[in-house]
Structure formats: C-alpha cells, structure tokens
Subunit: 129 residues, 2 copies
DNA sequence: ATAGGTGTTATAGTCCACATATAACAGTTT
DNA sequence: AAACTGTTATATGTGGACTATAACACCTAT
C-alpha cells in the first residue's frame, strides 16, 4: 500500500501525502480512481486511522483527491497539475537551501553535479519535460 | 548579535548554529576569535541561556568552536573546513529532495535555473570556488 | 580578595506537533 | 441486515523545543 517509516524525521502523514502524490504523478493513480480506504491503509500499515485521515484530508483540501462519504476517496480531475503547481510554489524553500550552500562556499559545480546525480538516478538520460 | 525568529519552523538553536557557521565561512569570525558569550546572546536576544548553550554545545562537539571555562567560546582552528565537510556530508538529503522533484516531473532545466537563481543572488557572476 | 564576567550542570515546567486509542454517527453498496 | 465507506469527538501519550531558576566552578581584573 504505502511504505511507512515511523522512525523517520518526516511525519507519517507527510510520508503518505508524498507517496500518493508520486503515484498520481507517475500515473499509477489516475483521475477517477479510488484510492485505498482509510481503514484499509490503517489495517495494512498499523497506522492509526486518524493519521491516514489527516493525510487524506490535507490532499482533499488541495484538490488532489476528493472524498465521497460512504464510497471512499477518489483522485480528482487535474490532480497532477495541482500537485505540480504546489511543488512549484514550494520551490522557494529549496532555493534558500541552495543559497545557503553558496554562502558557505560550496562551488556551484558541486550543486550542478548533485542535480545531475539526482536526475540521473531516475531518468538515466532522457529528460522528463 | 544573531537574528532570531521564534516563529520560524526552524528551531532557535539551529538558527544560531546556521548564522555562526555563516559568520565563520565568510570570515567575520576567524579561528581564535571569541564569540558572543552565552549570557550576552541571551540578554540581547531574549532567548533562554539553555537554548544558546544547546547551539554552542552542538558546534563544540563538531569542532567548530571550543569552550574555555571561565573565558568563553572561541572559534577553532580549521573551523571553516569542518563546516564545509559537515555540509558535504549532509548533501544527501538535498539530493533526495531534488530526486523527488524529478519523479514528480519537474524538468531538470527548472532545477538548474533554480540553482542559477540561488547562486546569482550572492555571487552575481563570480564563481566561489 | 572581591567582584564580575565566563562556562556548566541540574531540576522542573510549559508548549505544541504527532500519533495513538476508542467510540460513535452517517452514508453507500450488496 | 451486513459490511463496507467517510466523519467526528474525546482522551491520552510521547517527544522535541523552549523556558525558568538556581547553583557551582573557573578566570581575570581591580
């Protein structure tokens, strides 16, 4: 279902959000698809239902998924775009982290190499956009 | 002394660590220099001494500064290198964040642009290393 | 030696995000 | 009716960050 690490510094509900966003981005979950129910995820992962609900509620408020009482949660139309948009908006934080490296004297080439490395792991040559 | 934002998501003691590292990296604080005392920082910033101590203690354990009981804290020899080394080791986390952008379909060119933007703000043309 | 600065330790308490535990209520499907 | 679904409410536990206060020990200058 989802891969949860209770010991990670990242909260469980954020881990769920990240993974579901990834599933949507990769097309594993498409608009209209029903996603795993709160109780099903809770049972299979051992995580409290309230924690799952917190993740789903957050995604719902972002318009990525949509709750249908009695039926379940479903991937929204345009979910992929909503996710990308949110990520773009959240890029400022990353920029700050990179700027900090700059101020500390880390050469730009090292950061470029880091980006290449990160992208190389996944795309292995082909650009994504 | 230090610029503290109690409302920031980043803990106060980490804010102090970051700023002191920056001062060392830029040469504002050089090896042998005495840094602001725990009590002085506490008084001027309104932050509890224990919080300052937590920041200084962490930097001490990293070998960036050195405590001399009765006299104060002093910047260690090779502090700059220790900081850079620690940052390099902590780069894996950033790599993970960038990889996440890749998986979500953010084009590599966008990330390159982000790096350029971040470095452009500070270096404005000249490479740092 | 006294005073005033320094780091250091100890204890206790507050606050808040995260996660849990449990239960109950309501809607949908079969 | 049964078995799912989401939803809400209340209470509890845990851990990190921060505060409050006090005391102890060290160094230096007067």
């Amino acid at each position: 279902m989802y891969t949860i690490d209770p010991l990670a510094r990242k909260p469980i509900y954020e881990q769920i959000i990240d993974q579901l966003e990834l599933f949507v981005a990769t097309g594993a979950f498409k608009p209209g698809d029903r996603i795993p129910s709160v109780r099903a995820v809770s049972t299979s992962s051992g995580v409290n239902p309230m924690t799952i609900l917190k993740a789903y509620g957050e995604l719902d408020s972002r318009g990525v998924i949509c709750s249908v009482p009695g039926r379940g949660y479903f991937v929204s139309e345009g979910a992929k775009e909503k996710i990308a948009e949110a990520k773009i908006n959240g890029l400022g934080e990353l920029r700050g982290q990179i700027a900090a490296l700059c101020r500390l004297g880390i050469p730009k080439s090292s950061v470029y190499a880091l980006v290449d490395e990160a992208y190389g792991e996944i795309t292995a040559g082909g650009d994504t956009l």
